[in-house]
């Protein structure tokens, strides 16, 4: 929850940015008006008289000479520019300085011209528009707004049911939320698009007198901009419906923010539109210097109003967000307030700097400062926004777990009473605490990175566009600037994309690795052990590949020919490949053994004559620890067949030799009882898969019969079970008077007199043979 709160400050910025960006958009839509109008004028076909005049002029010898000279001068000017780099920079600098000086002079005149401005502008207005034209323009605005509005209404009739449904269903899963937000955006902005098409499209389909067209268009664009602002703010803040809100505000705060943003941005938009109308007016008229100066005064005033509106909005929003933090505990609140304060200061300074730059007509610089200055804010904002979005979904998921716990608690309480309930709750709560990890961590990281890339790249493009350079043509041009630009752009793009991939892969791999817990004790390792072996390898390979690729792409964009490098690497690769054939074989077959899941770390395997527990794997070889301590290292390439003793289950058979007269039924009963006992025993019960059971008489031998006993157990558990089973069975036999058969050699002496000592010795000597014959069997099999 504190996490959410800490985002509040960032979200103040969301709104601000949501505000500033559209206004930038408005400025962009409004500012280029001048040039588009020039184009419109230029598009009109020239009158026949003009054409004749032009032809006459072109045929004039003096004009021809002058043009040729000019062309020479141009090429002469251009050549040194590219050669003498410093010269060009110097002249550029002095030109900028001149422009600034000129601007400063104009600025001084602003106050002087201010008193006459209304009268002068009114006169100019009357001149450039027919009587009644102003009101007529308003009529046109009204009519085309109505048309746009009507079409939007029609659009809404078909979409409103869907929109209402979106507002009423509150999807909780991440994908559901994303889908809902996207379709909501689509529906809302679709309406705006229809409105635009109806109003501006409808208007432009008629022919108009240029100034009226310009005026009406500006007003229509103004309305459109206001609506766009309101729609964007509505989309993010959703002041009416809490569940749709994409920012962590409660309803009153969201409402106030919404209103503040709309008011501030509307004031800015109106000021810009007014300033634009007047500059349009003076563009149209032939233009007395004084009239132009008056228009300039108006535009400076509009700028001042924009500045004031922006500053007020920043301070007001900061105040609102700060007030929203009142309910927090003190420490969080003070940290939060500090952050708000920092951002407020930063944005205020940024706004002021932007304004000053605009005042001195340093447009390029202004855009650069504004966009690069807004970039950190935008990044922080995007991060906060994405985090909020993910937090909401995750909180829901976690909340669901909690609910499940609570319901479990309730049930238990009903059944077992309070004491039992507490115990069980503790038990249930444990796994969820261990599972602290958030479900969307990887997606969240990648989303933030991706949005960051998009933001950075687009802001770089905007800055370059503000400098009036087409980045694509610049990158292809052979000049120094072009080279630098293309290298920088490619570097940024390559690094960002590599970073994105690396972040994603690393997060995914680390997550899998974190999931893996090595088996404890004799327990057989789970399937994750294989991944634990493979993933670190994969991670290193990926990192190396990414670094190499980024390095190569940067080198290639810097003009270094990388073909020899690649070819060299290829040749080297072939050479190494031949030289290290067996090494490669080891590595590749190792990967395939891992893919086959033939063995895992911790398993007991047998390869040919070697046996042992898999202790570890390197990229090339496998290390086996024999149970007597010896360590075998076997390259993967050498493995042909492999026996794994640690998979799923093992059956162990035991044999008891008992005399022929033994009661087999009793034996069976005893073994069954022992099996049941051992199954109950906490020491072995997890190890058993099938209990100890008697198989009856397995075979007959010369002097005894063999009773078979077997059990099925988990791999690794069988030895202890066998040990104790033997002991228990022997004890039970003894207690029940069952004797185990002993080896005895009967020597039949056909005589009824007592044997003499010599004869006895001879008998023992005869029996010795039989005893030694039997003992010739080999040593017992090797077992850990």
């Amino acid at each position: 929850m504190t996490y959410l709160r800490s985002l509040l400050s960032i979200f103040a910025l969301v709104c601000l940015l949501g505000g500033v960006l559209p206004s930038v958009g408005l400025a962009q839509t409004l500012l280029p008006q001048v040039s588009s109008d020039e184009v419109a004028v230029a598009d009109e076909p020239p009158s026949p008289n003009d054409v004749k005049e032009l032809i006459r002029l072109l045929e004039d010898q003096r004009i021809k000479n002058w043009l040729e000279k000019g062309a020479e001068g141009l090429s002469a000017d251009e050549a040194p520019e590219s050669q003498v780099f410093g010269e060009g920079l110097k002249s550029q600098f002095s030109a900028t300085l001149d422009r600034t000086r000129e601007r400063a002079r104009l600025l001084q005149g602003v106050w002087r011209h201010l008193p006459d401005a209304p009268a002068l502008l009114a006169a100019e207005w009357r001149e450039s528009i027919a009587p009644g034209g102003t009101v007529r323009s308003l009529t046109y605005v009204l009519i085309f707004l109505f048309i746009g509005g009507g079409l939007e209404w029609l659009y809404r009739q078909y979409t409103s049911a869907r929109l209402l449904r979106l507002q009423l269903t509150h999807p909780v899963s991440l994908s559901g939320r994303v889908r809902a937000a996207l379709s909501r955006a689509l529906l809302i902005f679709g309406g705006l698009a229809v409105f635009t098409l109806g109003s501006i499209g409808g208007f432009l389909s008629f022919d108009w007198n240029p100034f009226v067209e310009e005026l009406v268009l500006i007003l229509l664009l103004l309305v459109l901009a206001l609506r766009a602002i309101a729609t964007v703010s509505m989309f993010f803040l959703a002041p009416r419906v809490r569940e749709l809100r994409l920012a962590p505000f409660d309803s009153p705060l969201a409402k106030q923010l919404h209103i503040t943003l709309i008011i501030a941005l509307s004031v800015m938009a109106v000021a810009l539109a007014v300033s634009d109308v007047f500059s349009e007016l003076t563009e149209e008229g032939a233009g007395l210097a004084e009239v132009q100066a008056s228009a300039f005064s108006v535009s400076i005033f509009a700028g001042l109003i924009c500045l004031a509106a922006a500053l007020l909005a920043i301070w007001r929003i900061a105040g609102l967000v700060k007030a929203g933090s009142d309910q927090l505990d003190e420490e969080v609140a003070s940290a939060h307030n500090q952050r708000v304060f920092k951002w407020r200061l930063y944005l205020s300074v940024l706004t002021l700097v932007t304004f000053v730059l605009w005042l001195f007509a340093a447009t390029d610089l202004m855009w650069t400062v504004l966009i690069l200055g807004l970039l950190p804010a935008a990044l922080a904002l995007i991060q906060g926004w994405v985090n909020y979005f993910f937090d909401e979904s995750e909180n829901y998921l976690l909340g669901q777990d909690q609910e499940a716990e609570e319901s479990a608690e309730g049930e238990v309480e009903a059944i077992e009473g309070e004491a039992g309930a507490v115990e069980l709750v503790e038990e249930v709560a444990e796994p969820s605490e261990a599972d602290e990890r958030r479900p969307y961590d990887t997606v969240r990281l990648v989303t933030i990175r991706f949005l960051r890339i998009v933001l950075v790249i687009s802001s770089v493009l905007i800055v370059l566009a503000a400098w009036g350079t087409d980045v694509f043509s610049l990158a292809e041009s052979p000049t120094f600037y072009g080279k630098i630009t293309s290298v920088i752009v490619e570097l940024i793009v390559a690094v960002l994309i590599a970073d994105l991939i690396w972040t994603w892969a690393k997060a995914a791999i680390d997550r899998r690795l974190a999931d893996y817990k090595p088996p404890e004790g004799p327990q057989a390792p789970g399937p994750e052990a294989r991944m634990a072996t493979l993933l670190p390898l994969l991670r290193v390979i990926l990192l190396v590949t990414l670094v190499v690729m980024v390095g190569l792409s940067i080198l290639s964009s810097a003009g270094v020919n990388i073909a020899p490098l690649i070819a060299g690497a290829g040749v080297l690769g072939v050479a190494i490949g031949f030289g290290a054939q067996s090494l490669v074989k080891d590595i590749v077959s190792g990967i395939f053994f891992l893919v086959d899941d033939a063995f895992r770390v911790g398993e007991y395997i047998e390869i040919g004559s070697l046996r042992g527990v898999v202790e570890g794997m390197s990229i090339r070889s496998l290390r086996l620890r024999h149970h007597l301590g010896a360590v075998h290292t076997i390259p993967f390439g050498e493995l042909s067949s492999l026996t794994n003793y640690s998979r799923d289950w093992v059956i162990l058979r035991m044999e008891f030799r008992v005399p022929f007269e033994t009661d087999i039924k009793l034996v069976k009963k005893l073994i069954k009882r022992i099996g049941a006992e051992m199954l109950e025993d906490p020491m072995y019960k997890d190890g058993f898969i099938q209990p100890l059971k008697s198989q009856g008489v397995r075979r007959m031998e010369e002097f005894n019969m063999v009773v078979g006993v077997k059990f099925m157990a988990k791999p690794g558990e069988q030895w202890i079970i066998r040990r104790d089973a033997y002991q228990k069975i022997v004890n039970a036999f003894e207690a029940n008077g069952i004797r185990l058969a002993e080896r005895n050699v009967k020597v039949q002496v056909v005589s009824d007199r007592p044997l003499t000592d010599e004869e006895q010795e001879a008998v023992v000597g005869a029996a010795q043979d039989a005893v030694e014959q039997k003992q010739a069997a080999g040593p017992p099999p090797d077992e850990p």
């Binding site: 027919a130 009644g132 034209g133 102003t134 009101v135 007529r136 308003l138 009529t139 046109y140 009204l142 009519i143 109505f146 048309i147 009507g150 079409l151 209404w153 029609l154 009739q157 078909y158 049911a161 209402l164 449904r165 507002q167 009423l168 269903t169 509150h170 409808g202 008629f206 009416r240 419906v241 309803s251």
Partner: protein, 371 residues
């Protein structure tokens, strides 16, 4: 009775406006076409019967509107009611000059109003009148459409009619306004081309013009006085009762505190609590019905309209219409019977519905309703 009268007069007025606008759409072709079409489009209205019908409808519809304002308990209303009231109040001041200009001026200045002369007046001589015309078209059409569509939505034939009705509702005023613009451009070009300077108006004309202005302003003034008087009378009517504070607590967990004298629907909308209301609070559709679980004060009994609708839907006693129930004070615990995004199927009484007895189902959660 009142409702029927309002709808019938409203439809008559709407048809008149529609024919007039369709006529105007001919301006997209040419001024001549516009003039030629006028005969056919104005035919139903220029004969005495049509004229009487039209004038009578106008008076009755306006009068009913004022009566409705008089009976309002509070001026806090739903967005739909606000739209209808404000647009209705605007129509008379905006339209007076056009109506009087065409009817009176013809007699006073002995000139036959033609589209060319009127449009010249609107676009060249008095452009602010043109602006007012555009405004009145927008306002009137919005008012008419809002009322008409709300009424039509309740009809069984609506699903078929909607296919045509929605596009037409946009097409008619848009083509009329475009025709207005196009014909306007034509008359502007004509007047710019005609070099003949009109003679300065004679004293007699000026005097007549002043008389005309006096009539116009006294009509508008009279209307304003009428509206103000209605509002005053309403205040007098309400001065006796003192509304308390009403607390509405929904089973979903939302709680609303509002002043008394507001219908439940209005209170819910003012607090952004979505509520189904297809008939926009006219007590016809019963989609806004709520189940009253408990109430600290005795609720006012259902009005005749409400009771009829409730009976049609065979509702038990604890079901009320949110748009008609106006508690004055107390705490009410309630739940919405239908989800806010209910479709038009809910309009049919339960006996005709495929799904029987919607009323006894608990409030459907939105997620479930969406599936």
């Amino acid at each position: 009775m009142t409702r029927t009268l309002r709808i019938v007069t409203g439809i008559i007025l709407f048809v008149f406006v529609a024919t007039h606008l369709l006529n105007m759409a001919f301006g997209l072709i040419s001024l001549e076409a516009l003039e030629a079409a006028r005969f056919y489009f104005s035919l139903p209205w220029t004969n005495p019967v049509g004229f009487l019908l039209l004038a009578g409808s106008m008076l009755i519809h306006g009068g009913l509107g004022l009566v409705a304002i008089y009976w309002r308990n509070t001026l806090q209303m739903t967005r739909y009611d606000l739209l209808q009231t404000v647009s209705a109040l605007l129509i008379v001041p905006l339209l007076a000059s056009h109506v009087l200009g065409v009817t009176l001026a013809a007699n006073m200045f002995s000139m036959v109003p033609s589209y060319e002369s009127v449009l010249t007046f609107f676009w060249v001589q008095a452009p602010h009148e043109g602006l007012r015309q555009a405004l009145v078209v927008a306002v009137t059409w919005i008012h008419g459409c809002a009322g008409l569509f709300t009424w039509m939505r309740l009809k069984p034939w609506w699903n078929r009619a909607a296919v045509v009705a929605y596009p037409l509702a946009v097409l008619i005023p848009v083509s009329a306004l475009l025709g207005f613009v196009e014909a306007g451009n034509e008359v502007i070009a004509l007047s710019a081309a005609s070099t003949v300077q009109s003679a300065p108006p004679s004293a007699e004309i000026i005097a007549k013009f002043q008389t005309y202005n006096t009539i116009l302003w006294s009509v508008i003034g009279g209307y304003v006085v009428l509206v103000v008087a209605t509002l005053l009378a309403r205040m007098v009517r309400l001065s006796a009762s003192k509304p308390g504070i009403v607390t509405l607590s929904y089973l979903t967990g939302d709680t609303i505190r509002t002043e008394g004298g507001v219908s439940l629907l209005e209170a819910a909308e003012a607090h952004d609590l979505p509520h189904a209301n297809i008939c926009k609070g006219r007590g016809r559709c019963a989609t806004c019905r709520v189940r009253i679980i408990s109430s600290s004060e005795e609720l006012p009994p259902p009005s005749e309209i409400e009771q009829k609708t409730l009976d049609r839907f065979e509702c038990p006693d604890n079901i009320r219409l949110a748009c008609q129930l106006v508690p004055m004070s107390g705490t009410i615990e309630l739940e919405r019977v239908l989800p806010p995004d209910v479709g038009l199927d809910a309009l049919r009484p339960p006996s005709h519905q495929v799904k029987t007895d919607v009323d006894n189902e608990p409030e459907v959660p939105a997620e479930a309703a969406a599936t």
